[in-house]
Symmetry: C2
C-alpha cells in the first residue's frame, strides 16, 4: 500500500505520503522538495530511541546536514519554554530561511515543531513525520501549530503548513495501546462528520481497540480515509473561516474535560470520545439527530476501548465555565458541531446552557 | 491632506489612511471593518499619556469594548516575556478570534502587538496606529511582526498583516527629534531604492533634521510617497520571496551595528543610515554605482542629522561575524542590497568579505 493524498491550498500545496517503511525514504522525499541543506530533527526521547537513527541516516544519505534535539515527552511540556529551547538550537546551528525542522513524534512534538518553524525567522520549512495514530490522521495535517497557555490549550499558535507529511504505518507497532485508542477517537470522528463508509467499515470490524488484531485493510482505511477527510476539509477552508470547524466535533466539551483534568487523567483522544458522546446527545436533545445513530456512535467508541462517560468527580459547572475559553467562542457564544446523520454535521452556536448541563448530568 | 493607500494582497488587502486628526476617527474607521466588539489597545506609558485617552474615547464611542495595556518602552523589552504579558491580558479579557489588538506606538509596540495578535488563538485582528515617523513609513506596513532573541534582532516572528494602518501626522509633534531623524533614514531609503522623485524633493528641502522646519508639502511627500513605496513592494512580494528584500537596503550592516551596540547607543534609523553609507560604498567599490551618487546620498543623510560613520570603538571583525546571523543569509552567504542608480537597487549575495572590511575600515 502506498497512498499519496494532496492537500491543495492557494499558497502552498503539499502531499501526505502513506507507505510502510517510508521512514527510510525521508531524506530522498525531502530532497525532492528543493529545501536548504540544514535540518533540525525535533523528537522526544522515547520516539528518538526507536526511530531517530533511521530518520537521521536517511537524511544524511540524501545530503542534508542534520542536527537533532529531544524535548521531554508530554502535553505539560507543550509550552513557550520548550519553544524557546528550539529557538536557541536554531540559533546555535544557524538555521536559515531555507532550512527545515522535521517533527518526528506525536501531536505534541508536531505542534511545537510547527510553531517553532512558523515563528523562527518569520517562518521556515517544516516536515511532519507523525509517529502516533492521532498525529497521522489529524494533527500533522492542516498547519495548526501551537503551545498551551497555563490556562488553556493551544491558545498560543499559528497556521503554518508543512512542506510534506510522511506517514510510515510500521511505526505504529511501538505505539502504546492507550495511544492507539486515542487516535481511534479522531478516526471515528471522521466517520461521523464526513465519511459514512469509513464509519460502516469500522462498525464491521472486530477488536478495534488493539492494533495487532485490526486487519490490514482496516488500518489502510483508517489512515487513508481519515487523511483524505482531513485534507478535503483543510483544502476547502485553510484557516477555519467556516467548514473547517467541523473537525472540532467532540472537541468543544473535549477540550474542557482535558483542561479540567490537567491534561493527564484523560488524554486528548479520550476527551474527544467523551465530547462526541456529549455532542451526540445534545444533537438528539435538540431534535437534530436520531437516538439510534447516537447509539451506533457510542457503541463504536466503546468498541475502540474509549470512554463514553465523564471522569469521576469532574464538576459540570466547571466544564460549562471552561467552554467560554474555547478558541471558537464568538460574542460569548460557544460553537458546537452537531451530527444530523452519520457522515453529516452542522455548526451551531445556539445550544442552550441548560441542554449542555442536562446532557452532562446524564453522563 | 487625506491619502488612502491600498496594500493589495492575495489573502487580505488593507488600507493605509493618512489624515491629520485621524486618531479621533479610529473607532469609526474600525467600525467599518466589521470586527468583533472587544479591543485591546497596546501602548507604552509615554505614548499612552499623550494619545491613549483620545484613542480609547474614539473606540468606546464607536461601540467597542476596550481594555488597554502598556508595555515598558524600548527595544530591550521587545522580548517573548512581553508577549507573554499580552497573552495573559488577552486571556483575562477573553479576547476572541474576532477581537482586535490595536498597536498605539512606535515600531517596538507595533512589532510586538502584531506578533501577539499573530499567535493568539492562531491569529486575531491587529490595527496599526503608528506614532513615530519610522513606524508610519515602515514597520506598521507590511505585516512583519516579531520580537528579538537575546542574540539577534527580530529572529522570532511571523507575517501577520494588519486590518488597517491609521496614520495621524499630528502625533509627530510630540516625537523627540532623534526619533524623527531615525524615521528619516527609512524615508531616504525609499528615495534610493524606489523613488528618485522623493529623493530629489528631500534634496531640495532645508532643515530636514527638525520636523518643525520641514514644509507641510515635504511632510506630505515623506508620508505618502514612503507609504506608497512600501505598499507597492509588499503588494508585489508579501513574504519576501524576492523583491521585498530591497527594503533591507542599509539593514544588513545596520542590524549588525545595532546588535553590537546593544540596541541602545545607536538606534535603528541611525544604524540604517550607517548601513546605507556602507552599502553605497560597497556598490561603488564593486563598480555598480557612481561615486557622485553615493556622495549625494551621504549628503542627504547628513542633512537629516543622521550619522555617516561607524560608532567609536566598534570592532569591524565583530560586524563581519554578526552578518552571518542575518535572517537573509542563504547557504552561509550574506545578502546585500546595492544601488545602481538613485531609485534603483539590485540584490546580490556576491560581496567579498574583503570589500566589506575595507569599506568599514574607511568609515
Amino acid at each position: 500500500m502506498t497512498s499519496i493524498i494532496n492537500v491543495n491550498l492557494p499558497q502552498q500545496s503539499y502531499e501526505i505520503a502513506i507507505a510502510p517503511g517510508s521512514l527510510e525514504q525521508l531524506g530522498q522525499q525531502m530532497a525532492n522538495l528543493n529545501l536548504g541543506k540544514k535540518v533540525l530533527v525535533v523528537s522526544n526521547p522515547t520516539i528518538f530511541k526507536h526511530y531517530g537513527e533511521r530518520a537521521i541516516n536517511s537524511l544524511t544519505s540524501a545530503g542534508f546536514k542534520v542536527v537533532s534535539y529531544c524535548l521531554p515527552a508530554g502535553e505539560r511540556y507543550k509550552t513557550l519554554n520548550s519553544i524557546q529551547k528550539l529557538y536557541d538550537i536554531a540559533l546555535e546551528n544557524r538555521l536559515e530561511r531555507s532550512s527545515t525542522m522535521v517533527a518526528l513524534g506525536g501531536g505534541v512534538i508536531g505542534d511545537m515543531t510547527g510553531f517553532a518553524a512558523a515563528t523562527w525567522l518569520r517562518g521556515i520549512n517544516v516536515v511532519q513525520v507523525p509517529t502516533t495514530l492521532l498525529a497521522m490522521v489529524d494533527s500533522a495535517i492542516g498547519g495548526k501549530t501551537g503551545v498551551n497557555h497555563p490556562h488553556g490549550k493551544n491558545l498560543i499558535g499559528a497556521f503554518h503548513q508543512p512542506r510534506k507529511v510522511l506517514i510510515d504505518p510500521e511505526v505504529l507497532k511501538t505505539l502504546p495501546m492507550r495511544e492507539f485508542r486515542a487516535g481511534m477517537a479522531e478516526v471515528i470522528k471522521y466517520g461521523i462528520i464526513w465519511d459514512a463508509e469509513l464509519f460502516a467499515q469500522l462498525e464491521a470490524s472486530k477488536n478495534l481497540n488493539q492494533l495487532r488484531y485490526v486487519k490490514p485493510e482496516v488500518i489502510d482505511a483508517i489512515l487513508t480515509r481519515s487523511c483524505q477527510a482531513k485534507a478535503n476539509v483543510v483544502s476547502k477552508d485553510e484557516k477555519e473561516g467556516g467548514l473547517r470547524a467541523i473537525l472540532n466535533y467532540g472537541h468543544t466539551i473535549g477540550h474542557a474535560v482535558e483542561s479540567l483534568t490537567g491534561y493527564r487523567l484523560v488524554n486528548h483522544g479520550e476527551a474527544v470520545a467523551i465530547g462526541m458522546v456529549a455532542a451526540g446527545q445534545i444533537a438528539v436533545a435538540l431534535g437534530l439527530w436520531q437516538q439510534e445513530d447516537t447509539e451506533r456512535q457510542n457503541a463504536l467508541i466503546q468498541k475502540a476501548g474509549l470512554p463514553t462517560r465523564l471522569p469521576e468527580g469532574i464538576d459540570i459547572e466547571e466544564i460549562i465555565a471552561a467552554l467560554q475559553l474555547d478558541k471558537k467562542v464568538k460574542a460569548g457564544k460557544v460553537r458546537f458541531i452537531l451530527p444530523t446523520q452519520i457522515g453529516v454535521v452542522k455548526i451551531t452556536d445556539d445550544v442552550p446552557s441548560e441542554t449542555i448541563r442536562q446532557v452532562l448530568q446524564g453522563m
